[in-house]
Amino acid sequence: MNERKPVGQQKPMETAASRQKNHAKPAKLGREVQARLGQQLRAMYDEGVSQGVPDRFADLLTRMDGNGNKDKH
């Protein structure tokens, strides 16, 4: 889960022609573009991850656990 896939390494270098806009089919992105996108995506995502576990979810698990244990206590 915590491993990061190297996002920028999967395409060969783009050519000038493949960079042209309004292409009919998706051009292959250069690795730098991919790296940049990957970086932004992960930064956005990691900001969410860094918020940790909000209390409501720990409480939820405790509540659900408690419901089932009632007859045991």
Binding site: K5, G30, R31, Q40, L41, Y45, R56, D65
Partner: protein, 182 residues
């Protein structure tokens, strides 16, 4: 139900990433938290169907993803939704929990078709392999690859990233990237 301590740990351990996935999918923290809550309730109600020793995260992501997609379809029927509408609602939301920084990126992400968005997030941010992402989305590995590629291409267009010149000041990273491979 009594929750096994190891299950409790594994579930809680998966929550931060599960939540980041939900936020990235729907672009709304409150709705994402509801999604995570519903996912946890469903998961624990069906914990018997989880095979010990398999990936708890992937299992939870699958439940959340399926729940999100069925909800998305429902909403879509209700309001004749489209990616455009979703993007609009994103724009009118008040800023939430430090999202300002990634606003432009989130908006671009919101413009992607849902299947491309989820594929890109799973592979590019959650750290799942193509195989795991395919399993989570219930499709072929090749389909995930193609969705990820299309998502990247579209994002680059939306964000006008089409050459190294637009990368801003991070020269060092760029030169490392340019010189580091092949």
């Amino acid at each position: 139900m009594a929750i096994d301590e190891s299950v409790r740990k594994a579930v809680l351990g998966a929550v931060p990433s599960l939540r980041a996935f939900a936020i990235s999918l729907c672009g709304n923290v409150d709705r994402a938290d509801d999604l995570v809550q519903e996912t946890l309730v469903r998961a624990l109600a069906n914990i018997d169907s989880f095979q010990p020793g398999t990936n708890m995260s992937a299992w939870l992501f699958t439940i959340l993803r399926n729940h999100f997609r069925s909800e998305y379809r429902k909403r879509r029927r209700e309001v004749e939704d489209s990616e455009g509408h979703y993007a609009e609602t994103l724009k009118t939301q008040p800023e939430q929990h430090g999202q300002v920084e990634f606003r432009e990126f989130r908006e671009a992400l919101a413009h992607l078709p849902a299947d491309q968005r989820e594929a890109l997030i799973l592979v590019g941010a959650s750290g799942f392999s193509y195989e795991e992402a395919a399993h989570i989305c219930g499709c072929a590995v090749g389909t995930i690859k193609s969705r990820v590629n299309r998502a990247r291409t579209r994002l680059a267009e939306l964000l006008s990233i089409d050459s190294a010149d637009e990368f801003g000041p991070d020269e060092q990273t760029r030169s490392v990237l340019a010189g580091g491979r092949e």
